[in-house]
């Protein structure tokens, strides 16, 4: 197996008194696509948000256990969360572009990191748009409102925006669930290209999608990690009965 990028050990998460994640222990490999699957409410999105401390923004969340990225415990109280999030990009279920121009959306991240040189910013815009396979569609309309793009384009622009801060890890929370099949195919192709350079963790409802894009798959059920293995194994020869029932469509 490849090098390990993220390690979680005995991770428990509570919303108030309700336990949402139970003893999650998981190693996420570097420069691979790891998919989280499971029925709604199983905790997969919550777990994704643990990885860049997005749950900090929700009241009443308590987290126990360890989450380490490159050997650093990111829940150490001296960790700079803002800096952490710069290095772990995130793409959300619903495209959440700012009501600004396409150009301004992409340079938002670099700018808040202190990059103001026009030439550098232009290079970033072109590089990230090429990377996220949207350059040909937006290069002539960079100064148009980003919200004028189609849903699929908006989502790819969100990925470009995430890439602009040069993260090593990209977390995707059901990035294609609101898209049509063609746009979905484009996103999946894009994920495939991106894993050369990035560690990608993707939450998906769509099992075929997990099977197509991921190298590793984790199956969550009721806040527990049931099984974590190579994607081919999970979908062809899972070792747990629950996993088999889910991937064959017997429940979920």
């Amino acid at each position: 197996m490849k090098e390990i990028k993220i390690v979680t050990k005995d991770l428990n998460l509570y919303y108030g008194n309700k336990q949402a994640l139970k003893n999650i222990t998981l190693n996420i490999p570097d420069k691979r696509v790891t998919a989280f699957i499971g029925p709604s409410g199983c905790g997969k999105s919550t777990f994704l948000r643990v990885l860049n401390r997005m749950n900090d923004l929700i009241d009443n969340v308590k987290i126990e256990g360890e989450v380490s990225v490159d050997g650093v415990n990111i829940y150490d109280k001296n960790i700079d969360v803002v800096n952490l999030r710069k290095n772990i990009g995130m793409v959300f279920q619903k495209s959440n572009l700012f009501p600004k121009t396409i150009y301004e959306n992409i340079v938002y991240g670099p700018k808040i990191n202190g990059i103001n040189d026009k030439k550098t910013l232009n290079e970033i815009v072109e590089r990230t748009c090429v990377q996220s396979a949207i350059w040909d569609e937006v290069k002539d309309r960079l100064n148009e409102n980003a919200l004028s793009l189609s849903g699929g384009q908006q989502q790819r622009l969100c990925i470009a925006r995430a890439l602009a801060v040069e993260p090593e890890i990209i977390l995707m929370d059901e990035p294609a669930s609101a898209l049509d099949p063609i746009s979905t195919a484009k996103i999946e192709e894009l994920i495939h290209d991106l894993k050369q350079k990035y560690t990608i963790v993707i939450v998906t409802h769509n099992m075929q999608q997990a099977a197509r894009v991921s190298d590793m798959t984790a199956f969550f059920y009721l806040g527990e990690l049931i099984e974590f293995d190579r994607t081919t194994k999970i979908f062809t020869n899972p070792s747990k009965k629950q996993t088999e029932d889910y991937v064959t469509g017997r429940f979920g």
Partner: protein, 327 residues
């Protein structure tokens, strides 16, 4: 009709669906409808009547005084030179009706008040929407809105008695009661207006945008200043315009705290007299049907027009914002 259908229609005699509507029910329904229609229309009619009365009386002034006389009066002095006078002195034997000092007086109190209120009101709105924890906000927002409901005569009285003396000792203004003191008093009323509307505008920004910004490694302040405020810009500006409109239309505070001398000045520490205070102070003593009487109604038209336009602009901006934020 075949057998099946015949059977179907013969059921109607004992069907529970066939109950006839009671005549009384129908009448009751239409009476209720009429009641609410009348009330709704009445509210509109009253506003239109006020409007008509104001304009009817106000435009009478133009028959006697003339539009230019509301701007300035020309007087020939003893040595034969013509002087242009900007004075509001309707009770003199040689009455002057220039609205210039009154309009300036209104602006001299309303503009500083709006500036002060924008700073504090927008900051308070940001605090309520973005910084305060939800429980604290639930307590604070109604409290701030309650402030807007304090009778303005109370605020005017406090400014007249306490505020004016305080600033008199602190800043030694030219007049004890002046535009500055009135602006501070106005701010007490306008800050809650701006704070509450700013909070609404910021709160209407979808949470997704905050998440996007934090996800890119932005701090809270960067998120507020670079994403939330620009996205809510139209709503925040509408709140400021509405606050300004309120400042222009406010009466009791300026009547009590601004000093009521119709000075033409850019010195904020001099007494001024606003349009509203003029109407309130003089309407009780004016003889009905005189030029003075009609000219007060004319001031009413000017005020009405200004606040109407400001409210209209704010309304347009707010509607535009509502459309923009529905993704």
């Amino acid at each position: 009709m075949n057998e099946q259908e015949q059977e179907f229609y013969s059921r109607s005699t004992d069907s529970k669906y066939g109950k006839k509507i009671h005549k009384f029910t129908r009448t009751k329904e239409s009476l209720i409808k009429l009641f609410f229609t009348l009330n709704g229309v009445a509210a509109l009619i009253f506003i239109i009547l006020i409007f008509i009365f104001l304009f009817k009386e106000g435009f009478r002034a133009l028959e006697h005084i003339g539009l230019l006389d509301f701007l300035y009066s020309s007087r020939t002095a003893a040595d034969g030179t013509t002087k242009t006078i900007f004075e509001w002195y309707p009770t003199s034997d040689d009455p002057r009706f220039s609205l210039v000092p009154l309009i300036l007086g209104t602006l001299m109190t309303a503009i500083p008040a709006t500036i002060i209120s924008t700073i504090f009101g927008v900051a308070a709105g940001i605090y309520l929407s973005e910084v305060a924890n939800p429980k604290w906000k639930e307590f604070l927002k109604p409290l701030i809105e309650l402030f807007a409901g304090i009778p303005t005569v109370v605020i005017g009285f406090i400014m007249l008695v306490i505020g004016a003396s305080f600033f008199n000792d602190l800043l030694h203004p030219d007049n004890r009661l002046n535009a500055f003191v009135a602006s501070i008093g106005l701010s007490f009323v306008i800050i809650p207006v701006i704070a509450s509307l700013t909070e609404d505008a910021l709160h209407s920004i979808p949470n997704d945008l905050r998440m996007a910004s934090y996800g890119l490694g932005a701090t809270k302040w960067q998120t507020i200043s670079k994403v939330i405020l620009p996205a809510a810009f139209s709503g925040v500006s509408a709140s400021i315009i509405l606050g300004f409109g309120r400042a222009i239309g406010e009466t009791m505070i300026v009547l009590m705290a601004a000093g009521n001398a119709a000075n033409i000045t850019s010195n904020i520490f001099l007494s001024v007299r606003t349009m509203t205070a003029t109407i309130a102070a003089e309407m009780g003593e004016v003889s009905q049907g005189s030029d003075h009487y009609y000219s007060l109604f004319f001031i009413g038209i000017v005020l009405f027009t200004i606040t109407f336009i400001l409210n209209l602009i704010a309304e347009i901006i707010i509607n535009k914002m509502r459309k923009k934020n529905t993704f």
